[in-house]
């Protein structure tokens, strides 16, 4: 049996007086890397929040294989194999880095020893060995982001949703991250959804891109197709013109 696909269908999310998502659909298969791009406020983070149960849907549905997961609590969705990182980093600040990562493995049923071993291995993979004993709060911004990724991986997820993982990293760090992330689907068979504003990173990393603007999908396809799409050029130029 093949692994199930994570699917969002016609998702609508409303905040008071604002339609943050207006009928967005997206599919993520195991082993694939999908990039979600779009101007600020276009609804990218909200889509991840909708998938992981942090915000309520006003319409549409989220399914994992033939199981509907929209309406479940974040914790139950997590236990079905969805892990995420946060745009505004959310580490456990008063705990050590290794405990931060250990927590994820524990939540998914590992024993304390096994969880610790998993955590140390992942910290090593992400080049964080030297930080293992530091408190979450004391890390640099780039390290915090890497710990969040290690923590998400410790849950051994089927799908990993990363919200701007490269934000605040320098070029060398971003390059290292690119290689780590690119290897994940083959290594672990997971499906990866990434939001980032770094177009260079996204073009090289993602198998497919989907572009949001004002809560709607305006383009989807390969990096080249998306780059040339008139609506995308319009959205980005438009937003830049609006910012100027």
């Amino acid at each position: 049996m093949s692994k199930p696909i994570l699917r969002a269908t016609d998702v609508v999310v409303e905040f008071t007086g604002l339609r943050a998502l207006d009928g967005v659909s997206l599919a993520l298969a195991p082993g694939e890397i999908v990039g979600l791009i779009g101007p600020n406020g276009s609804g990218k983070t909200t889509l991840i929040n909708a998938i992981t149960g942090q915000v309520r849907l006003a319409g549409g549905s989220i399914t994992l294989g033939d199981r509907t997961i929209s309406g479940l609590k974040p914790r139950d969705i997590a236990l079905l194999g969805l892990a995420r990182s946060f745009q505004i980093v959310r580490l456990f600040n008063e705990m050590t880095v290794v405990e931060n990562v250990q927590a994820a493995a524990l939540a998914h049923g590992a024993g304390t020893r096994a969880a610790r071993a998993t955590a140390l291995r992942l910290l090593h993979e992400l080049g964080l060995d030297a930080r293992a004993d530091e408190l979450g709060a004391s890390l640099s911004y780039g390290d915090k982001r890497r710990v969040e990724i290690a923590r998400a991986l410790a849950a051994d997820p089927a799908f990993l949703l990363l919200d701007e993982p490269a934000a605040g990293m320098n070029d060398a760090e971003t390059e290292a991250l690119l290689h780590t992330l690119a290897a994940l689907p083959a290594q672990r068979g997971l499906g990866l959804l990434i939001i980032d504003h770094d177009m260079g990173l996204m073009m090289r990393l993602c198998h497919r891109l989907q572009v949001l603007a004002f809560g709607k999908t305006i383009a989807a396809g390969s990096a080249d197709e998306v780059r040339r799409h008139p609506a995308v050029i319009e959205a980005y130029l438009g937003s830049e013109a609006a910012h100027a």
Partner: protein
Amino acid sequence: MNRHLLTAVLLSGLVVLLVVATEALGVRVFDRIATNLCVSLVLVIGLQIFMGNSGILSFAHIGFMGVGAYVSALLTIPAQMKGMALPDLYPILQGIQVSPYLAIALAGVAAAVVAAVMSYPLMRLSDAAAVITSFALLVVLHTVMTNWSNVTNGPRTLFGVPKATDLLLAAGVAVAAIVGAVAFKESRTGLLLRASRDDEVAAAALGAHIPHLRWRAFIVAAFFAGVGGALWGHFVTSFSPNAFYLHQTFVILGMLVIGGANTVTGAVVGAFLVTGAFESLRSVEARLNDLKLFNDQVVGLTEIVLALAMIAVLILRPGGLFPSREIGAVLARAFANKKKGAA
């Protein structure tokens, strides 16, 4: 040595030192102070188990101390004395009399059961709502203790509790509490609960069942509160419901906040410091009153100083003296750094 083990050994060592020093001095007053300190340790460490790991301030703790004290009293007051001590006692309970040691353990279990039943619905709440409901819980427990005359003698003092707690017993239980709290903190429940303390959203996104984790900690905390209450009851031998209310809550909270709620080390250090300060101030108070410098008696110095100390700590060092790392980890890191420096 494993740093958690080191923490447990060092903190227990402090208790052992207290016992040895007290026995060596052989002064009765010190014996009383040291025993009270050990009982406080059990209570503060119990509170740390819930508050430190969940990050939720609980006012209910001392209510469970009361539950423990009354349960143990009921189980141990000799049958012939019960008629006098508790004139309205239910006939079924009149004949019951077990050993104080068994009673102290059962008192812990009873407090834990009461906590389990009362608190589950509250464990979904966070922040101010959680704090206020814990206060409501304290008021409920206090009201029951003052009004259920059949088993508590109402607001009046309950006499005739057999003396069973000495320094050695109290110190032994304090050491057990230290070991229990360190083990709980490092357990799966403890670690995930600390994660939820630091970030509820992120912990839930990992799959942590936060209300359940909190509930477990609350039950374990109530167990130690119950045991602490029973120990205290068998030390002072007579008490009324007011012993388990705001004053005691304030003292125990003060110890924990000053030491640092997030660590067992903080709980232990806070209990030692506050007890030391209290006893010194009390003797100052007595001296001042002996000297008759003032027309009226000097009273309440201890409470005011504790309040000021709490305010000072919260302003200068909000996490307390040991805000995030246990003593074992502090020493292990210092040692590792020194080795690195030498190499």
